[in-house]
Symmetry: C2
Subunit: 118 residues, 2 copies
Amino acid sequence: MVKHSSTTLDCTFAALADPTRRRILAHLARGDKCVTHLARAHPMSLPAVSKHLRVLEKAGLLRRRRYGRIHEMQLEARPLKQAAQWVEEYRKFWEGSLDRLAAYLEKTTKQSEKKGAK
Amino acid sequence: MVKHSSTTLDCTFAALADPTRRRILAHLARGDKCVTHLARAHPMSLPAVSKHLRVLEKAGLLRRRRYGRIHEMQLEARPLKQAAQWVEEYRKFWEGSLDRLAAYLEKTTKQSEKKGAK
DNA sequence: TAGATATTTAACCAGATGGTTAAACATTCC
DNA sequence: GGAATGTTTAACCATCTGGTTAAATATCTA
């Protein structure tokens, strides 16, 4: 198994566990940038969005550059790579399950065909 | 973009955000089963492990079958598929970053070659 | 039935989380 | 300088989280 930095994964997964933050990441992916603009898309106060941005920033999922009073955010997806690798290690398990399901379905389908069921 | 059930992802990512729970999943993947056995591998009380198991169960990441007084747990990785799909949508972003890094490295390498650097 | 074993539930606690509003800070514009 | 704009910080609050210990529940065994 690949050895991961546990605390990094902690931060990454925790950051992704909130739907508002996932939506913010999606907005960043589409090119949105400044705090006010991001906040307008979410039904909550500006400080709330600001906090979410800080969480994402601490998790390394966004980079912030200041141009005068406006803060420009940019998606930084690299931490997701490690998360993806972690999840990938379990792929064989869910694919195994699907294989078993497929085998089961095939078997029962054949049985119902034998019985002449439509 | 693929449409996901937000709350399912919430649960999945939140469950994965704790290192103890990720370790438990790893143990389950290796075939460990009952609560006591899983608990022995972790420096915490049995009720604490029991709580983690409940979180994993609610997130659909394990299935529990009772044989008398012992509870047999089994890894259920399918919810991870959705998480993987979500993360995958950002793959192009981190790979884009790596591409830019690669381009940068190639450029600087060529420059140092021009300068005759080893 | 009594005792041992496997596990959960209950009650509690400290600290984190996600939200609020009000105030502060930093910058730009007039 | 003073007002407007963009953003954060501070203080607060309710709820969630991850742990504890003690007690309850369920099952097996002698």
